[in-house]
Symmetry: C2
Subunit: 284 residues, 2 copies
């Protein structure tokens, strides 16, 4: 590449704002059966995974997302033995789950095998635990995989792309109902639920569906610098578990020791919602 070439990746929303990042080089670019996959190397954020032109993760900031989606539900369960991740092909969520000593099995159900292979090769810090013996990687459609499952998992995490492209079937009442049925007693589902600032329409639709299926639907929020508006949400859903009704203090302390973000104070604070988020979800 010419030394003076000013190469940039910019993710621009429909309204016209987004993240712009200087790029050193493109390490991988291909079309899978499902989406366009890019791995780029950047000075600011390290290596980044981009699917269909949208930032999924980056070396620098992946921990914001992966610690939040996993430890909040995991430590709300006294002993999560069997865990399912739908999507999450970069392996970051699985890596965090495996830090909990009670885990016996993690199923990763990812539709796109090329994402998994790519992340293993180019993002080893994120995907490096996918070869753990407790991990069962299923390369298949999460929508199909969930059909007919009964009380199999303690924790189910929906680590999906946005509600478009290959992830669209993961935002339906039917899918959420199958997830609910696949949870054991005391089980918890957490789904990434978009940006409360940048994706208000999508978020409202999603919470309307979740509230039809789960008696307990509680959003939580946190920073995520590389996602739209830098502010993200997750939906904590269950039949019988209210967030903060149980916290495994000992595990919180252990997990906190080697976490960049997560600790006991964070666990307790993430369910505090700004007024505009409360309104958005209550109107859903």
């Amino acid at each position: 590449m010419a030394e003076n070439m000013d190469l940039r990746y910019t993710e621009m929303s429909e309204e016209g704002m987004g993240l712009s990042v200087k790029v050193n080089s493109t390490l991988f670019h291909d079309e899978s059966d499902f989406q366009t996959i890019d791995i780029i190397d950047t000075p600011a954020l390290g290596k980044m995974l981009i699917l269909d032109g949208l930032v999924m993760t980056s070396d620098r900031d992946e921990f914001f997302y992966h610690e939040m989606i996993s430890h909040v539900p995991m430590n709300s369960h006294p002993c999560p033995k069997s865990v399912l991740v739908i999507g999450g092909g970069d392996g970051g969520t699985v890596r965090e789950i495996l830090r909990h000593p009670c885990v016996e099995k993690v199923v990763l159900c990812e539709i796109d095998g090329m994402v998994v292979d790519c992340c293993k090769k180019y993002l080893p810090n994120i995907a490096g635990k996918l070869d753990d013996s407790r991990v069962d990687i299923q390369i298949r459609d999460g929508v199909e995989y969930m059909k007919g499952k009964k009380e199999e998992f303690d924790i189910i995490l929906i680590d999906s792309t946005d509600p478009l492209g290959p992830g669209v079937g993961l935002f339906t009442e039917e899918f959420y109902t199958n997830v609910k049925n696949a949870l054991k007693k005391g089980g918890i589902m957490v789904a990434q639920s978009e940006s409360p600032v940048a994706d208000q329409k999508e978020m409202k639709l999603m919470y309307a569906l979740l509230k039809k299926v789960f008696p307990i639907v509680r959003p939580y929020v946190g920073p995520m610098p590389i996602y739209p508006a830098g502010y993200w949400s997750w939906a904590f859903c269950s039949v019988d578990v209210e967030p903060l009704s149980y916290i495994d203090e000992k595990r919180v302390e252990e997990i906190s020791k080697n976490s960049k973000l997560y600790n006991a104070d964070i666990h307790r604070s993430v369910f505090a919602l700004p007024n505009f988020v409360k309104k958005l979800v209550s109107e859903a």
Copy 2:
């Protein structure tokens, strides 16, 4: 402007990442004695104030910053009568302060009169309360203004630009000492303290200085979509008031009613810090 012209404003950090925004038009552009001032109109964020090429505020997202810098300290004081804002020429912080019925006087000490005039004209939703009879606008250097002040204010808010350009003197031990002396008993200073993700070096330097001056220095954090990394911090500093030791519940409830972000849960949760922020501040 040509209809097909793709005009964008991009704020790129030294490492090479930042916010990119489509622009409808430039409403104002001039050089004051202190800095370059731009007001641009954008489809995503409404009107935006930009100083020396850095985003200061925008119609859509200003509330994140202005509610956080003001209501957290204001409601930690039983009756803040006299309040000082250093910087804050856009008027957003003053607007929020005036919502507290106990306030008798707000001094706004802004170095750049052109910023105030500009915001009054182009950003009336933000600057619209600067004409309130309780507001005393002092167009002068905050560093000079603070010299020799003794126990004059209940709350002092440092609503400054970054530690470069005209704001640089607001990040010194001498200035903070003068601020401390200007606080009444039970007084609180809050200063914007940069992004814990994008400005770690600056933040560490700032907290090192603050800790030399104030016995109580407590960071708090929150989302700020239009600032670097979308994640911002403020320093709660006092001689005698620990955050959360007193919360004016009645005022919290009143203020919350017409706030977009702020409420009782938020007030209690903002001092919960990610591990990497705790580390950064403890090493300062």
